[in-house]
Amino acid sequence: MEADVLIVGAGPAGISAALTAEKFGAKVILIDESFSPGGQLRQQTQYFSNLPTGYAPDIGLKVIETLIKHLYASSVQVYTNHTMIGAYKNGMIGVTDGNKTFPILARANILAPGAQEEAKIFPGWTLPGVMTAGAAQILINRESVLPGKRAVMIGTNNFAFTVAKQLHDCGVTIEAFIEEKSQITCSDGILRDELKHVPVWTESTVQIAQGTGQVERVSVHTPEGRKEIDVDLICISNGFTPILEPFVIMDCELTYKKHLGGWVPLYNEKLQTTNPSCFIAGNAAGITDLGPILLTGEIAAISALEEIGILNSEEAEIERRKRWLELEKLENTAVCQARKNLIASSRSRQSPLTKSK
């Protein structure tokens, strides 16, 4: 298999990158490990309004439906059930479809593997019935399975409230939010309001989850003392962290940026990693919202096309700057600032964007 650009990961960032690259005339291969493109957006039933130009505000799964429709109408070659598992000596990405493993020869790669949820450990966290908020969301929105009847949500970030609201809408009783910090971290006032009947226990931590073969009870350490409630579902929303494996496999340097989700690949304003043939897009480049995710896909595609000579530098610079300006408007300030710091630190590297073995 050969292409101008290989894109790994067909979530919103990967699809956005693929459509952008195709629009500018590149031959594109897009692979994803799942049976369908769309990534995590496929189970997002919440409404997204903060989207780039050209996108109509809608609930997540409608946004992705439209993108997938465009994707299949384009010349992008989409391979689902294809997973990047490694790299060859010559730097080519190796992919498996479960029956065979083979290289895909591309002049540039865009890696958009997304993010994974952070675990949180406490006694009993390995019991069935304890799961990440994202796992609970997949169960209700994609599999139509109710993960429990009575739940607590650990964490009060936006995703915690989003999933709690969706669980609540499915008939799950949310008994409480459990928050280590002194106040709710969710910034969405409407969401908070919709769930104002749910008690929020701040400065609180789970002491232990108990049950026989399945979680039945949770004890929580709160400032008012120990609280114990019967639950059959404990959801953990402890934030997201970039998926790093593809970047490590491709010898991309990592750096630490708390506000981008922890360890994250180093990249410059072209979204080019320290391996010059690899570009980065989506949550892997820093945990952010859907609008910026879509824009990083476009920026990475433009830069990849510049790298292989399909776009000239001036065109690329103009297209890129347009999107960075839009991204700055859409992105949370702290995240955007961390991103700028990361890009600045890539500039100050001694031997920019070359890496010895």
């Binding site: 029956n99 493993t101 450990i121 494996e245 593809p246 490590v248 496999i249």
Partner: protein
Amino acid sequence: MEKSTIVCRCEEINIEEIELAIKNGARTFDDIKRLTRCGMGPCQAKICMNPVREIIATYTNTPLEDIPPPRLRMPAIPVRLGALANGVEDFKESSIASVFGESVEDGDEQNDESV
């Protein structure tokens, strides 16, 4: 938190075992991994990566950003050996040696190399 709390669910390694490794001089996730098998199971530290880093940070009083992730290895996800063997028709060169072959070559190792 109770020291018996599991951190690595694949290999069932608890906080106490990790702290003991750190007490014995381990400083990185990989040091701990080799001593305890923490992170060596099917998920390859995808779940316990940050909980372990947090334990190291707390125990050694080191900022979290100074504790690198474990060495992430191929394959990025588990893959059947058969699927790994298929797909490349002919290897132009092979780096695979043979134990028997070496023993009968009178110590001439050069023949086993292909670089």
